[in-house]
């Protein structure tokens, strides 16, 4: 179980995440909904350990100080101060916002970089095949440079790349951003399939509540750094505030 407990993240000028608690049980799909700059990315970057690294770098450059309070617990163990690669070894893998592919590498190289920390070489090829089965369109693109793919294909590579790390907890930061509605549905179906086949837990941060809400088990709504509503999918769908603000009903 991945548990975020009373997490608060300060930038020098503002609070990005304010006293947020989230639980991800094994095998669950959790939605984290909120508009731009609500704190979704900050939260995911904190969980992945990237924010800690950025904070160190910023501090050295004399930039904004980033302060993190609260706990991130994996199966009850505190992982607050671990570096990103240690967290990946423990199974926490973030697929970042705007995909962040390596533009001058081929699709295949991008996918293989995802398996950087793995030692089980035979399994890596099986996983590559699995990913190509989930996203068949990537098969014919394997030797193309990732920078030249369409937005949808790039998102598939980005998710595939994260899957190559064999996550127990997959964190997706705005996977639907910039995709056509048809592709959004297709991608969500693929994400749901991942949970069914691999049994991994998935935390999706999204601003498109409407298509995403149909695949989640539980969801949280975050507004200016604070969790305002939380509950199961059914509860969220019935919540009047969500109906008006996010579902347009």
């Amino acid at each position: 179980m991945l548990e975020i407990k009373d997490l608060t993240v300060y930038y020098e000028s503002a609070i990005a995440v304010n006293d947020v608690s989230i639980r991800v049980e094994d095998g669950e799909i959790i939605g984290l909904f909120g508009s731009n700059s609500a704190g979704k990315s900050t939260l995911l970057n904190t969980i992945s350990g990237l924010l800690l690294e950025r904070g160190k770098k910023e501090l050295r450059r004399g930039g904004e100080r980033i302060t993190i309070f609260g706990d991130i617990l994996l199966d009850g163990v505190k992982i607050n101060n671990l570096r990103p690669w240690d967290r990946i070894r423990m199974g926490i893998v973030l697929c970042p916002e705007r995909r962040r592919l390596f533009p001058e590498m081929t699709v295949k190289e991008n996918l293989l970089v995802g398996a950087y920390l793995r030692r089980d070489l035979d399994e890596i090829n099986n996983d590559l095949e699995f990913i190509l089965d989930v996203f068949p369109r990537l098969r014919e693109r394997l030797d193309q440079e990732a920078g030249f793919l369409s937005g949808g294909e790039q998102q598939m590579v980005a998710i595939g790349r994260s899957l190559m790390a064999k996550p127990r907890y997959l964190l997706l930061d705005e996977p639907l951003l910039g995709l056509a509605p048809v592709l959004q549905i297709e991608l969500l179906k693929a994400i749901k399939k991942l949970r069914e086949v691999k049994g991994m837990s998935i935390l999706i941060a999204e601003q498109y509540v409407l298509p995403t809400i149909h695949i989640i088990d539980k969801g949280y709504v975050i507004e200016t750094g604070v969790i305002s509503v939380s509950g199961t999918r059914e509860e969220l769908l019935e919540n009047p505030q969500i109906k008006t603000a996010y579902l347009g009903m």
Partner: protein, 292 residues
């Protein structure tokens, strides 16, 4: 005139390959760690002086001498990164000051250990071959062959090995590389070592064709920087092409004008490129955008 052209072609090619090794190392460490390494020329000198020590002073055999010299150079490179640069990475001005200080310190230490006068290293293989009616020493042929082999090995390393791919990942997007579990600090150190080996190897193979002297370190650094700017920062292909442009230009100047003027070529190249096309021949648009 015809003769002069043949000379430029032959000597320019040899010089081009040597400079390519130096400049690609410089380009590599910039690409991966975004460090402009002013200590790069020091690697060139350290390996040449180490070679002199092992090969001439204590008369070890050639292969071992080269091997130990490269190991020493790589260790110095790794130590430079780990001890000095790791803590200040991302602070460009500090990086420049630190690397320049290290370069000066290294060179003064070498001056203290070895005689200040230029030293000589015997050729690795004796003999010469004829290209048409022109005599070319085997050492220069060896420079070309071993440089080509080194560059191919480097290419294979970067393209095919796990660490090579990880290095490119860091160069293209450091944050994303971290999210793949790659430690950019480790990759930067590795890049520094590979970069030191490349410059060191250039210092070794060229040593018999000239004297081993401390000024060579600055010559290597100046040319390396000129080539990297001309080729485009961080572009390895650009560095390769630019190395030959500078190589041929320097030999042409030395042939037609004076060999004292050949260093000026590098400075002119820096000036012209920075005025006309700051991103260099193969420079990426992205690089410039980042800076704006």
């Amino acid at each position: 005139m015809y003769e002069a052209l043949v000379i430029i072609l032959i000597y320019g090619t040899v010089l081009g390959f040597t400079l390519a090794l130096v400049a690609i190392g410089l380009s590599l460490i910039y690409g991966v760690a975004r460090i402009i390494n002013f200590a790069h020329g020091a690697f060139f000198a350290i390996s040449a002086y180490s070679l002199y020590y092992f090969f001439v002073s204590i008369k070890l055999n050639l292969i071992l001498s080269i091997f130990f010299s490269l190991v020493i150079t790589a260790l110095v490179g790794g130590a430079l990164y780990r001890i000095a640069l790791d803590r200040i990475r991302g602070m460009e001005l500090n990086e420049m000051i630190v690397t320049l200080a290290c370069a000066i310190a290294t060179i003064e230490i070498l001056r203290e250990i070895f005689a200040p006068a230029p030293l000589g290293v015997p050729t690795f293989i004796p003999g010469q071959i004829y290209i048409g009616t022109y005599i070319v020493e085997m050492q220069r042929v060896l420079i070309v062959i071993t440089s080509v082999i080194s560059l191919i090995l480097l290419w294979l390393f970067i393209k095919k090995t796990k660490y090579g791919i990880a290095m490119r990942a860091v160069a293209q997007d450091e944050d994303a590389a971290m999210l793949m579990g790659i430690n950019p600090e480790f990759m930067s150190m590795l890049a520094m070592m590979v970069s030191a080996i490349l410059a060191g190897f250039a210092g070794i193979i060229i040593a018999p064709t000239q004297t081993v002297a401390l000024e060579n370190a600055w010559y290597a650094l100046l040319n390396g920087i000129a080539i990297v700017i001309l080729g485009g920062l961080g572009s390895l292909w650009g560095s390769l092409v630019a190395a030959f442009i500078i190589g041929y230009a320097e030999v042409a100047v030395a042939t037609f004008l004076s060999s004292h003027l050949k260093t000026v070529i590098a400075l002119i190249a820096i000036l012209v490129v920075l005025v006309i096309k700051p991103s260099g021949i193969f420079g990426k648009h992205r690089e410039l955008e980042e800076r704006v």
